[in-house]
Symmetry: C2
Subunit: 362 residues, 2 copies
């Protein structure tokens, strides 16, 4: 595992660290931006400083701690959070379940990377407990109730984090992606499917998502992923000119989901239809600025094969085909006590994991 | 006009001021929280400090400047931005236009205050130019194009600003609204209807809104609106218990919209179906925390009479009945050079205006 994060030891101050295998290297001796409780000061400095920081971090002889001995913090202050919907297979799976007989894809889906603003204040670091949310949803008989969600799910995603801000009115073309983006995190966009289903028309996801979004404690700098870039799947129809570039930014990253220790899904991020540079170009195409700490996530990553879906609602066909775990237990949606881990691996380079245990509401 | 804001004079530092008629009183001598470039430090202190601040601000003999002589800043650092959809008349008008023949209201509309997360980083202070956004939309023949919006609109809203934060997992019941909320602003949720229409299914509003949201430079403390509280319209069906309180928080605030100096709409905020305490209770019902600086806006406020609609798409019946201005000019949507002003008045107490001029994209 490698990447930048923020940690503290015992009652000490938070500082920036470099993950190296099972250890964390304390970088605070390297300068002011490393003596911080977030990566934002480093992220704001831009690509030359980032490359320099990676080089220095790898060689730094600072204090090391075993990962079990440190407290990991949310690695960056989240300025804004946008969640996309960029997996063709995921959008198709969901469309088939909820609009049977119709074209599973919304009519705009192949024309733009669909996305929405999420709740930045609800983003927390891996390891944060997932308190089963209460909310309003339609019960079996269709009547609205307010109760703990019965259909708690995960969503396997990758996200990128903006370092260098832009100004209002200045879109970021896809080919300038790397001038603004610091690195990549693994994201679990926890979802309460019953709350989501009842609220989503006409304004989109809201309380079915905003109880918690978990990100890995480690941000993998973009430069470390350079050799894992591949060409994205062909787009048909070809995108409009403002979305035409950035097709060489699919990431060959193996993904796995573990539920109570058993692998329940395996996929790869290179199957995503829309790439990260296209997402950033679209999100800024109307002149909306980005800020240091903006998080933009891919949306659920599902592959074409059975067993590569990035959510339980897809893996279990909307709860009709329960997963059977090695101990004989069955799952449609998450139960209290379940522990879920998302893992991502780029040719041996492990990205940060995202771990969460479901707990009953107070 | 009365309320707290942030201003600077010439090249001086920003500080907190109190608006009193046509003047701004410099409050920086009153303590550290008033020597700030945002109201957030004051807002975080809670109701007792807010009441004390109002009392001291009104009596303070600090330096005064004419409003024309100061630069007004965004009055608070926006942590998160949620936009609701709480006007029955607006939701009905929009439903009739876009789903003719069907029930104009979504099936969940009378059960919960529908809302979505907006882009906090795009909130700017009154007076900020409205650069006509570019975006993707379906042209006359239905083919997607990327071009400057042809259907630029305004949305007349009131918003409230959170002062005292909450913790994750701790919903804020409607009857504890005043313990957390600092005050009220006027909001213009500028909207590009063509971009919005093309993108909105299935994830809701995104780039059709995120180019700019304007707020008044003055935040009116909740205590000043106390005597303008009235009972909200009866709700049928009665709301679920978690949304039952807060019905005595409709605000008797007269609203007006001026386009190029001519009043084109007049209404009142008391017609809103869902109240601010209900909105806050709903937004936190899943355990999502609020932070100092969270902005939550009402959604477009439209009244039941013709001429009380809070957007051009409603005033002009989706562009089919142009407005005729006193100088003979006609408008369906906003044209470059147009200046739009939102005004709000509670029994003689003016809330801050929201002003914006439309300019062509660069």
């Amino acid at each position: 595992m490698a990447g930048f994060g923020v940690f503290s030891v015992a009652a000490g101050e938070p500082r920036v660290g470099w993950r190296s295998g099972g250890e964390v290297v304390d970088l605070s001796a390297l300068g002011a931006v490393f003596c911080s409780d977030s990566l934002n000061p480093l992220m704001a400095q831009g690509p030359a400083a980032w490359d320099d920081a990676v080089g220095r971090a790898r060689e730094h002889e600072g204090p090391r701690s075993r990962i079990e001995e440190v407290t990991l913090r949310l690695p960056f202050e989240v300025a804004g959070y946008i969640d996309f919907y960029s997996s063709l297979e995921h959008a198709t799976n969901v469309g088939r379940m909820f609009r049977p007989g119709a074209d599973p894809l919304p009519r705009n889906w192949r024309w733009l990377p669909a996305g929405y603003d999420g709740r930045a204040g609800s983003v927390a670091v891996s390891g944060t407990d997932v308190v089963r949310p209460r909310g309003q949803f339609a019960d079996e008989d269709g009547a609205p109730v307010f109760a703990p969600s019965k259909r708690l799910d995960f969503e396997l995603e990758l996200g990128f984090v903006v370092g260098v801000p832009s100004r209002p009115g200045e879109p970021i073309p896809a080919d300038r992606f790397a001038e603004h983006v610091f690195g990549v995190v693994v994201v679990n966009d926890w979802s309460a499917r019953d709350i989501q289903a009842w609220e989503t028309v006409p304004l989109g996801p809201f309380l079915g998502k905003s109880f918690l979004t978990s990100v890995s404690a480690w941000v993998t700098p973009l430069s470390l992923l350079e050799e894992h870039r591949v060409e994205a799947p062909v787009q048909d129809p070809p995108p409009l000119p403002y979305l035409a570039a950035g097709r060489d930014w699919a990431l060959d990253v193996d993904l796995a989901v573990e539920l109570n220790g058993a692998v329940v899904s395996r996929g790869n991020a290179r199957t995503l239809y829309w790439t990260m540079p296209q997402q950033l170009a679209h999100a800024t195409s109307n002149g909306s600025a980005v800020r240091t700490g903006d998080l933009m996530a891919s949306g659920t990553i599902s592959g074409p094969e059975r067993g590569s879906e990035g959510s339980l609602i897809e893996l279990t066909r909307n709860g009709t085909e329960p997963l059977e775990l090695p101990d004989g237990a069955k799952r449609t949606f998450l139960e209290d006590g379940d522990e879920l881990v998302l893992r991502a691996n780029a040719g041996g380079l492990e990205l940060g994991e995202v771990r969460g245990r479901v707990v009953a509401p107070a």
